[in-house]
Symmetry: C2
Subunit: 193 residues, 2 copies
């Protein structure tokens, strides 16, 4: 592997982002998310709080909330999870939830049903601006990234997301992790164009 | 896509192969597997019969048996399934079960616990001898195969299995299908060396 083009891998299990309004419906008036542990991206955290989600076919009793709160509530699941729930969410970039399926969300103090917001997250790489310069990558560029090992493969259409507030990390979901054999903490290689 | 190098894709859900002896333990003296529908490989079939399997952590109540009977009983699961069962099976070629985890199998008339036989199937392509000649592929060769679409990727280490009794078909598991967006009936492209 080219050491200069190594990308840390993070495998994202199903999780949910909530608006402040939904946090209060789900956990009570005045409730705030509380941090359990920090994530790879600065300022992001896994919350102590979890919710249950109910699809037309199945449910998950304990879905981790990732904070801080966002402008829109969004549930990110793998395709495998989607089949269990009985939903057919599209593959989308985070925040692009127009026309996606909704779902019922239940917290310790209340529940809410969203009309849209369930997605299968598009694989992507967070790059700090300096990483992007070093690697010659532009924001929104579609990249190819190779994972080695006996289930080795090359992911195409990996979306570059560049920001001075990001830390270098490729995010794939559990289906992609299982299919490639890549686990959180492994490294993948950014291939040349 | 290069039309000459198109490979049909088949996504294999979890399934089990049984020995004749185990069929009789599980379904009763004199029992035989009965065909529900033929599979892509000549002579292979999905049986009407199913079994339940019980791992240390979870179980699946209805696992399809694929016939005809084999020399060794073998349960093929995805990595996702393996987590649910609480097992850590290796990625193996079919039939290579030495040192793999065992599992408890329950049929309508009895049960059996195998000491080994649970695998995550290594991705592979069945090629008729004439396909192999046409495509310049040797038995056991490791191939690269590209799946298009928004989750497009290139599978590496796809094992060629060549026989005059095979029909051209690439077999991947449900994790690999979900990660690549490929479904049974889709086509992938065999890449040049």
């Amino acid at each position: 592997m080219n050491e200069d083009r190594k990308i840390p891998v993070g495998v994202s299990a199903r999780h949910i982002h909530l608006t402040q309004a939904h946090v209060r419906v789900l956990f009570g008036e005045g409730a705030e998310l509380t941090e359990m542990k920090p994530l790879s991206q600065p300022g992001q955290f896994a919350a102590n709080e979890t919710v249950a989600v109910y699809g037309p076919k199945g449910s998950f009793p304990k879905v981790r909330i990732l904070g801080p709160v966002r402008k829109a509530t969004q549930l990110e699941v793998s395709r495998t999870d989607a089949f269990s729930l009985g939903l057919k969410p599209p593959v989308r970039e985070s925040g692009h939830i127009e026309g996606t399926p909704g779902i019922r969300i239940v917290g310790s103090a209340g529940e809410v049903t969203i009309d849209e917001g369930v997605i299968v997250a598009a694989r992507h790489i967070h790059l700090h601006t300096s990483d992007a310069e070093r690697l010659g990558v532009a924001d929104k560029q579609l990249l190819k990234v190779r994972v080695g090992g006996d289930r080795g493969l090359v992911f195409e259409n990996v979306i570059a997301r560049v920001s001075p507030s990001f830390s270098l990390d490729m995010h794939i979901d559990t289906d992609e992790g299982n299919a490639s054999g890549a686990a959180t903490g492994d490294f993948a290689e950014l291939l040349p164009e």
